[in-house]
Every structure is written in C-alpha cells, then in structure tokens.
C-alpha cells in the first residue's frame, strides 16, 4: 500500500471518528429541539434547547445509589447499552458517505445493536425484582418483537433495490439513481417511520414524558436507575432517536450529503443534514401533538400495520419495479 492510499485511509478513519463524535454530541440537542418545539406547539413555557445537556451533566455528577439486590448485570447494562448505540451511530452516515466504519456494521448488524441494547435493558429491569421492571421488560420485548421484523423488512426492500446492505453504499446508490418514483420506497418510508416511533418510545406507542407508571414502556424499565447510569441510558435513547431520523434521511432524502472529504461538500453536508433532521423533528412534534397514546393492546395493531406497509413495500418492489 502506498503512502497516499494510507493517508487517505487515515483521513477516512479520522472523519468517521469525528462524525461519530458529532453524532453523539448533537443527539441531546435534537432531543432539546423536539422538547422545545413541542412546548411551543402546546402553548407551554419552553426550556432551552440546551436543557438535555444540563440534565446529563447533572446526572453524571451525582452520587450513585443502587438497589440493595442489584447484581453486576445491572451495573454493566448502561455501558453495554451506550456502547451498542454508539456503534450503531458510527455506522450511519450523517454528513458524508464512504465511511470505513459503515463496513463494521451493515444495516442488519445495526438492527442487531439495537436488539443487544434492548436485551440488556430488559434484563436489568428484571434484576431488582420490582413489578414495574417486569412490566416494562415484558411490554418492551413484545413491542420489539413486532417492530423488528417490520424494520428488517424495510431494510430488505431497500437493500434489494440498492443491491447492498452497507449503509454508505446504499445511500450512494440512492443518490446515483436520481429521482425515481418508487412505490416500494413510499411504503418503506411510512413503515420505517412507524417503527421508529415505536422503537424510540414515542407517542402513540409510548409516552416519553409520562408520569403514570402503569402506562410506561421504556421508562418502566429504567425506573431503578440513577446517576451516571441513568445519564448513559438517557443519552443512548437520544442517540437512538437521532439514528432513526438520520436513517430516514439517508434512505429517502439523501440529497446534500457529502460524497468526498472536500471542505465545500462537507459544509453543504452539515447544513443539509441539520436542516433535514430539524424538519423531521418538527414532523415528529406535530405527530405527537395531534395523536394520543393508544391502549397497550392496540400497539400490536399499530405495529401490524407497519409490518403490512413493509410487506407491501417488499411486494411492490418485486411485482411492480422489477417485473418478470
């Protein structure tokens, strides 16, 4: 390998690391933005967009209190959850495609990372032996069991169209194809949005701001956490929301993302990425404001509908877009 290729490889890795850092640093900002918009929509006094950072910093500084019968698993879980989410963030192109980190984990592995984080969160919920923990774990695993196949079906539709499961390459393929009206993408977009809503614990499947234990899903699992553990888990949840937003952007509206490490295209990439994610956040806020949380037993229907959309996306991609 000559030195030129070597240095370009180094640049690529540095860019990837930088992008991952931006990703995890910006995630609380997005959460703050969503919260602020929501308050404005609902005529409430809004906190600053920086509030999530302050919350995280405060939680990090706090002394740890653990339940008396918490095992090592309970203490290890926040790190595993954060690590898995971080890895997922590293694989998703935010500003620029062609990342070496995207090769570590393709789309299916990305889903696997979320599953890993969820698995350990649910176990940690059961660790203390409280009723709420069990309730949260049971509900979360059921919802996930229905959301995951829909998510993978969406992934399959896109991967079969793009001919790859590598996220960078798939984004590149969508960019190269230009404007093509694909019914399968339309269905996949809605399915992915619904899955994202369910997986990130948003309305109508879960309510991130609820204070009623009986209606909780995700929050019920992490009731016993505090201090830096809670900070890591909350941060991971914010990163996850951002990953889903960026995934939707990458698949369906990738225009503007940088395709080389040129300063101009990088700047465009940053601006375009920020704008698109902010727009998606607005849509999420509107969606959350106009909808009410559904009953738990209706959540399977919601996800069943997402699965149907994903299935239709798959069917149309084969039936209508490739022909015989």
């Amino acid at each position: 390998m000559n030195s030129l290729a070597m240095s370009s490889l180094t640049i690529a890795w540095v860019m990837a690391a930088l992008q991952t850092l931006i990703f995890i640093a910006a995630a609380p900002l997005m959460a703050g933005w969503v919260k602020r918009l929501k308050c404005h929509m609902q005529n409430r006094a809004a906190p600053a967009v920086w509030q999530p950072y302050r919350d995280l910093a405060k939680l990090m500084r706090k002394d740890m209190v653990l339940a008396e019968n918490a095992s090592w698993l309970f203490r290890a879980t926040p790190y595993i959850v954060f690590g898995a989410t971080l890895l997922a963030a590293a694989a998703v192109p935010l500003v620029v495609v062609h990342l070496p980190t995207a090769a570590i984990a393709d789309l299916i592995v990305l889903v696997g990372f979320f599953a890993l984080a969820r698995f350990f969160t649910a176990l940690a919920a059961l660790d203390i032996g409280t009723a709420f923990g069990g309730m949260g774990a049971s509900r979360e695993m059921t919802v996930a069991a229905l959301a995951e196949p829909a998510m993978l079906m969406v992934v399959f539709t896109l991967a079969m169209t793009a001919g790859t499961t590598n996220l960078s390459t798939a984004t590149e393929a969508v960019l190269q194809a230009g404007v093509v009206l694909r019914p399968s993408f339309l269905f996949a977009l809605f399915a992915l949005a619904m899955v994202a809503v369910a997986e990130c614990g948003r309305i109508p499947v879960d309510n991130p701001a609820t204070h009623l234990e009986l209606t909780m899903l995700h929050e019920a699992m992490i009731l016993e956490y505090g201090g830096r553990h809670l900070a890591l888990i909350e941060w991971a949840a914010q990163i996850k929301l951002m990953i889903y937003a960026v995934l939707i952007v990458d698949f369906f509206f990738p225009w503007g993302i940088a395709r080389d490490f040129n300063a101009v295209s990088l700047t465009i990439g940053v601006i375009a990425g920020t704008a698109k994610v902010m727009l998606l956040a607005m849509l999420l806020v509107v969606w959350e404001t106009v909808l009410a949380k559904i009953r738990l037993f209706r959540a399977p229907q919601f996800l069943g509908f997402a699965f149907l959309l994903a299935l239709l996306g798959m069917l149309t991609s084969v039936v209508l877009e490739t022909g015989s």
Partner: protein
C-alpha cells in the same frame, strides 16, 4: 421491466397502482363503516388518476371519459349513496369485529403473490409500459373477493363487490388501455343499478333481522337445525 428505464409518467402510474392496492388492504381490515366508505372513494380517485396518467402516456383520449366516469360514479355517486344509507340505517358508527385481522392481511399478501404468479404469462405477452401493474389489478379483484368472503356486514360485502369491479376496470386499462367505451358505460350503469338494489336489500335485511350481519342468513339453510330465536330463549327464563 426495470423501473429506472421508464419515464416519469409511467413511474407515476406504478406508484398510484401500488396505492390502489394499498387501499384494498385498508378496506380488508377496516372495521368501521364510514372509513370503509371513504377508503372506497379514495380507491376510485386513485384509479381515476391512474387512468388519466395512462391516457396521457398512451394518447387514448377516450380514457379521459372513463376517468371522468370513474370519478362521478365511484368517487361521487356510489360513496354518497352508501354514506346516506349508513346514516339512514344508523350504522355509521358501527364496528365489526374481524376475527384474526393479521391472518386476513397475510392471506391478502399471499393473494398478491398468487396474482403475480398468475399474471406472469400475460405480462410476457404484453408490450405496454404498464404491464407490470396487471398483477396488481388482478390482486385488487381477488382482494375484493376476499373482502366479500371475510367480512360479515352487508355494507362491507357491497364495498367488496364494488372493489372487484374497480379491479376489473383497472385490469382493462393497464392491459389494453381500456375496454370499448360502450362496454365501460354498460358496466358503469350495471354497478349503479347494483348499488341501488343493494340499498333495497339492506332495508329488507334490517327489517327481517334487526341487523346487517349477513351471518343471520345462515338460518335459511334447511339442513341446519333451527337456531333458537332470541325471543324463544328469553321466554324460557323464569
């Protein structure tokens, strides 16, 4: 045929065809009467858009008449009639319990695959740009059948029937750019008459059974043992 080789209009036809298929699925699992009627109207509208697009692509002006007919009948008149009926019969807020909706939807997806399989030989013969949608049009017909089989209320069955008709129309447009106008007019007239006849049928059904659940018609079977009538059951109670 690869989608990327088609022009934008043809791509749009395919997108709207997919949406027509989607409305069929929605109708399959929609338990409430009024949204069901709205969905049916939407299907008609989407179908009309497909026809207009096909007319633009193929330069067949008589398709505009078909599209107008579709809009008038299937988006305007028939949904309006059904809507009026649902209000007159006081059933606009009724919901029907569908047993195993997920199984129903999955079998619907199976039907799409099946119609794809069935359509493959026809598709090979056709040279039209819209040939890929033939499978979808067959699927819409079969799904209409499935609605009629799986749903219990008479209203849903009527909508299923109308949706079969939509499928037929759709198939004609995408495989040969429409039937002769006279045939289309005849079919449209038939459908309108049918919708009026169904209205009459609804009233009779309600008068006889106090409900629009067609499973009550099972009592007509002579081989079955006579079901105890609700009144009879009540009398037995002390």
């Amino acid at each position: 045929m690869e989608l990327t080789t088609l022009g934008l209009y043809n791509q749009a036809i395919i997108v709207f065809a997919a949406l027509v298929l989607f409305t069929s699925f929605v109708m399959l699992a929609q338990p409430r009467i009024q949204p069901l009627i709205y969905t049916f109207a939407w299907q008609g509208l989407l179908l009309a858009v497909v026809i207009v697009l096909a007319a633009i692509v193929s330069n067949h002006p008589h398709l505009y008449i078909s599209a107008a007919l579709t809009v008038v009948l299937k988006v305007g008149l028939i949904p309006w009639l059904l809507y009026r009926l649902s209000i007159r019969l006081n059933m606009n807020y009724e919901t029907e319990t569908i047993t195993h909706p997920s199984m129903l939807l999955l079998s619907g997806a199976g039907l799409v695959v099946f119609s794809y399989f069935i359509a493959a030989p026809i598709v090979h013969l056709s040279g039209l740009a819209t040939r890929n949608t033939i499978a979808v049009s067959i699927a819409v017909e079969l799904l209409g059948m499935l609605i009629m089989i799986a749903r219990k209320t008479a209203m849903a069955q009527v909508i299923g029937f109308m949706s079969i008709e939509n499928g037929l129309f759709f198939a004609a447009v995408v495989s040969t750019y429409g039937m002769p106008l006279i045939v289309e007019l005849g079919v449209a007239f038939d459908v309108m008459v049918a919708s009026i006849l169904f209205g009459v049928f609804f009233f009779h059904l309600r008068d006889s059974f106090d409900s629009l659940d067609v499973s009550h018609l099972n009592r007509l079977s002579e081989t079955d043992e006579a079901m105890p009538l609700p009144e009879a059951a009540e009398v037995k109670q002390p």
